[in-house]
Symmetry: D2
Subunit: 400 residues, 4 copies
């Protein structure tokens, strides 16, 4: 019988130690490393896994797939957990899980291992996603299981000739992909402390941003951005491009105390420069292309979808149904948005669309006014009728 | 029988014409002008009403009452219509209506008149609020009724010796109070056009803001701000103070195409410098003082309350119940928030509270960790059980 | 230019008078009568329209289309307005409007007329649906316009040789289709009065129902019923069959004071025997085939869809998106439900499905138990963590 | 240091064995048994606990407190989990937990023990409620911990001279209180099997109910029933009385496959005769006393409150806020409802209230009609405007 385990391998200390640890436990290790837009040196990581003793070492650039199948819904669905967090890591976990399952099935492995600890959201996201795709496979969580202190882990690493990373004493715990970068731990654990500048990487401090604003025209088609200033990009390239431009202008810093799935509050610092620009522009385009009833109900769907993603429930019938709802609202979210990037601000200055429901003849207060103001009298009478009946009861006692 | 009408009088052209027009229709006019924080010269307006022919002219500074009974709920309830508009005018209409009704009852008037047109939200808000408080009183809307063009109105004014305001050719239609300023019409009617600088009044353009950030400590008690940098203010004064400070830093500009109650989309430009600072700080304080379940459900209440206020339903049993819910969540929203104002940005840098539910011992990744990571295994097994059962069905056919 | 108006013609007094009245106003009348399952004698109505002076008289049996395109969503969406009213008339209005518009376009008519009064929901449903499909066509509402008393209408009828129906002094106002029958007016206007037996037509009083229960097996496929006791039926025939069977057992009477779209409360009596059986069975089948997250979120969609339908907004982007959501949840709502009909009760006695997520091995308390009870300990610790942290704050003062 | 444990003692086999088991583990056992309306012989249970070896044995009749502080909210909030289960056991768990905590504090105990297994909801409800009130106390779950088979438990009981109950081979697992009775296990574990008659206890089968209907007048005050046929009762007595009357008429049987908090689906049979009558009457009274906006939003609150209760989160800030919302809606839910009980049916035949918002003059189609039908024209124009604008876009291409 197989004793193969597929390990989600990042090249860092925890998962390098995990290779050795799993081998010691009697497993054959198949390493697997994905790039989802953070720009990893995949060859280096591949070799390192072999160096650690992995029997096989897969590396996959999944950036494009990540943008199309996952980030696309974050855009169309304006997904924000607790109204604040654009779901950076949460979005990548189901894709990574899917790849791990595919390799596990191809390699006939009996288990999948991840490097998460026991108090974060990601352990839940990986394990639930893996179960959704391969309910019988075993899931191992070496870091959660060994529960070593940092010192014990380093001791183990030294004993097993595992190279110690030079940035080991970084106080931060970081995750990054196409859609942004998250950072926690260290001084950030005090929610009254100002995040130090070294907590950030993708964005300039406002103090160092250009003194000249930059104006961009973004074109959207069916809810997704397809060009910047008339230059077309595939979605992943467009986001990377905007990360760069908007990062220079100090856009997209988020400092949030959030409620984790596992019941604790945690202070997180995010940088999502491209995401911020795209989401602001997308929402502005929706203001002219969605009907009022859709505009007022879609946030209910968006909130639920955000929680599904945050809670690791990407692969579930409810998420599928929510995605269908979202898709159906985007068929006319097509048009152009002009944004100004300046000193940390994304300012939407204009929006237009061939499907615009903004009707200047109805909105105008000029002579072209096509709105029938007399209709308002009847409208108010009926709209206010329940209020009036209630007031009659209050003022007169019993109604006839 | 009385032929008195109480007119909501602003001192502007429309309502000055309305005084004459109502007198011509046979009414005795009682003018009433409120200041709700916009800083009107009430004496001037009072005299002007008399000049126009009003029999009586009331002026009321309702700024304090406005802040306490209305704006307070906007703060505690984070109310934003369509996630964007902080309900500036919408909040003042019920208070103005209440004062009009009180005067009408004191004066034994048979009608109340307002100066709104027939295509905006405010006509609905006034008329529904008035009905809620005095269901039998007649409501007149002279501007909606006469439906003159601008030229016809000016002709009428000239004929009746009504002074023509010097800013008559301003293309904008403006409303302002303690909570902010709204602007519509003119070039703004093209939603792709950048709002010109003269559309703004309370806020500096980012280009002209100070190059040095300003850090403030705001203290909240039961959900409401009570001091800035350890100096206490009554709520209305605190907001006015913040309008000034934050306006200098270019904070609080909003450019929104919104769905009006009367069925049309309208492009509006808002300035809410103080509101922006207070609301960001308030939300940050809630992240550490509300339990997760309250934090996740309160937005449902907030959305409904925002729509109630926007739609003119302040005086209604549902609004009362929503307010009770909101109040009950704020008893421990007490603490300090440190914000940095800079170049149009409100950056929350720290939040603390004696009622903080953020537990550093649970959140930390250091040795002080009090979180039982083994519990996660059981949690994930049960949390993921429905997903696993569904996956078993998908992969194996029928369940046993 | 055309002066043709297409009139929704029922054959009753109001619309017969409307034919004459429209002709007197200078219109050429094209009558159109639909059967949506109430079992009209269409030939008779067709001839009557000609007798009244209609230039053309269409009759259409739309029962099948009604069941497939409209009632199907009521079943899959468990739609109930205010949790009580299964949307009988509300469902037929958009279909009738669609047919009227089709005829108006074929006949090159300039207007469509309906026979609704000015205080019901149906006027809104017709006019909004017609506008959704043909925004330029004029809509006429003769009954609302002439606003005669009953006596005046009869006088007019007599003068114009319009036959007076024999049941004219029925106090009730009735509408019926495949999905049920609604009744209002007369004694029912007193909400404390017991509805008299003559208010009902499709259902036996419980006192006269059989003393022997009847058990049926209903098979559903993708959310819709396809057979009764192993005999297959098209949806419309299946509903008619169940109306008959369940009506005999006194099933499906509803007595409700509902909030109309036009702001008043109205007491209505409904009979929906087939609908009651189908909806109870459908919901029971969903309990075993929907995952918990879908089961808990779908009601939010159902409530919104019910209000859309009630409010006449069938033809709208939001309704389209809600329908897509609903459809996506029904792909595995396939299986068999055993119901017992007896003395006004629909008792679901059993439900099974090839896609059942009910897992006897997990649910059982016998030795076959596959549930890992130890996992509960970890689950409870984490599920209860926010509660515990809050309690620590309450009992100990400030958290560390 | 204390080694006292307070055990929730029912007198049944599981908790009797638990007394001995805990003593063997070195604990001193304080037994505590509550009656929450199921009609226990408390003296007998008290003595039995002593016989088992308990050092102290408390018995408490908490029926009245249960009705006032818990069931009252179920009535005012129409709480139904998954639209079907009236939360019988779920409502009693927080009260029992509260009493256990009070005794534990009085007795200076170090732990509280309950007799729940590891796969039900009740273990979660007890443990979370206890943590909410006493975060430091230890919770023991002997039955979950020993995880014996039935045979092993009986062996243990025999060895320790614990009397074996005579109904030991009942296949069912039952819980009962004032608000109803729940039953699971045995044949009920097959969701396609008809529940056998011996699964029920509080209700007659319809076949054996009286052939004469019974009509009752229930009077409500502020949302709670206070009298039956003009005879006043305290709430607990009123419910017991209605359980008896409605049980005779076969009312209140529920057969449901529900989604447990711990991730599995479970088939449950409930009997809630009194609850069914009260809830139907209460909802009917709300139809005339709540405004439309409250009537349409309250279900959102009710659903959340139902889930809070089901999930054991009674003692939580969100539940407190939801209860405040509910209370604020009930101040005018006062009036009389006439119900007919017959053959398993609760038929509401009439409802009236001094605070009724039903306005016969507005609703009527007679000459007394006070509704302004002309207002409908304006209302429809504005209500339908977004639909029309959308249709113009669809039919004409781009809007001006």
């Amino acid at each position: 019988m197989s004793n193969k385990v597929v390990l989600a391998y990042s090249g860092g200390l925890d998962t390098s130690v995990a290779v050795k640890w799993l081998i010691e436990k009697g497993y054959t290790v198949v390493a697997c490393c994905l790039d989802v837009g953070e720009g990893k040196d995949l060859e280096l990581v591949q070799q390192k896994a072999f160096d650690m003793g992995a029997e096989q070492s897969y590396v996959i650039d999944a950036t494009k797939e990540f943008s199309e199948d996952f980030v696309g819904y974050a855009i169309k669905g304006n997904t924000m957990y607790e109204g604040t967090y654009p779901l950076v890591s949460a979005l990548s976990r189901p894709l990574i899980s899917k790849k791990l399952v595919e390799i596990a099935q191809a390699e006939d492995a009996i288990a999948i291992a991840h490097g998460c600890t026991g108090k974060g959201n990601d352990q839940v996201r990986f394990e639930v996603a893996i179960k959704a795709l391969a309910p019988h496979i075993k899931v191992l969580a070496p870091v959660r299981e060994w529960s070593w202190s940092r010192e014990e882990e380093i001791d183990y690493a030294k004993k097993h000739n595992i190279p110690i990373p030079i940035n080991l004493d970084s106080p931060y715990s970081i995750d990054q992909n196409l859609w942004g970068r998250s950072n926690e731990c260290g001084i950030l654990e005090d929610p009254f402390a100002t995040p130090p500048e070294d907590a950030y990487d993708l964005t300039k401090p406002i103090e160092e941003t250009p003194d000249t604003p930059e104006e961009l025209e973004l074109v959207f088609e069916n809810g997704l951005p397809i060009s910047i200033n008339n230059k077309s990009y595939p979605l992943d390239q467009l986001i990377l491009k905007l990360n760069e431009i908007a990062g220079l202008h100090g856009i997209g810093r988020i400092d949030h105390v959030e409620n984790r799935l596992v019941g604790i509050k945690s202070r997180e610092v995010y940088e999502t420069p491209g995401a911020k620009v795209i989401m602001e522009a997308h929402k502005a385009l929706e203001t002219i292309t969605l009907t009022k009833d859709v505009a007022h109900f879609k946030p209910v769907i968006e909130k639920q979808l955000s929680e599904q993603i945050y809670n690791g429930l990407w692969f579930s019938p409810l998420t599928d149904s929510l995605k269908q709802f979202i898709d159906s609202t985007q068929t006319q979210v097509t048009g152009t948005v002009r944004v100004k990037l300046f000193k940390g601000n994304v300012i939407v200055n204009g929006r237009k669309s061939p499907f615009s429901l903004y009707n200047e003849e109805l909105a105008t207060y000029t002579k072209e006014d096509a709105f029938n103001q007399e209709a308002a009298v009847g409208f108010i009478e009926i709209f206010g009728l329940p209020t009036k009946v209630k007031a009659l009861l209050e003022t007169e006692g019993v109604l006839k």
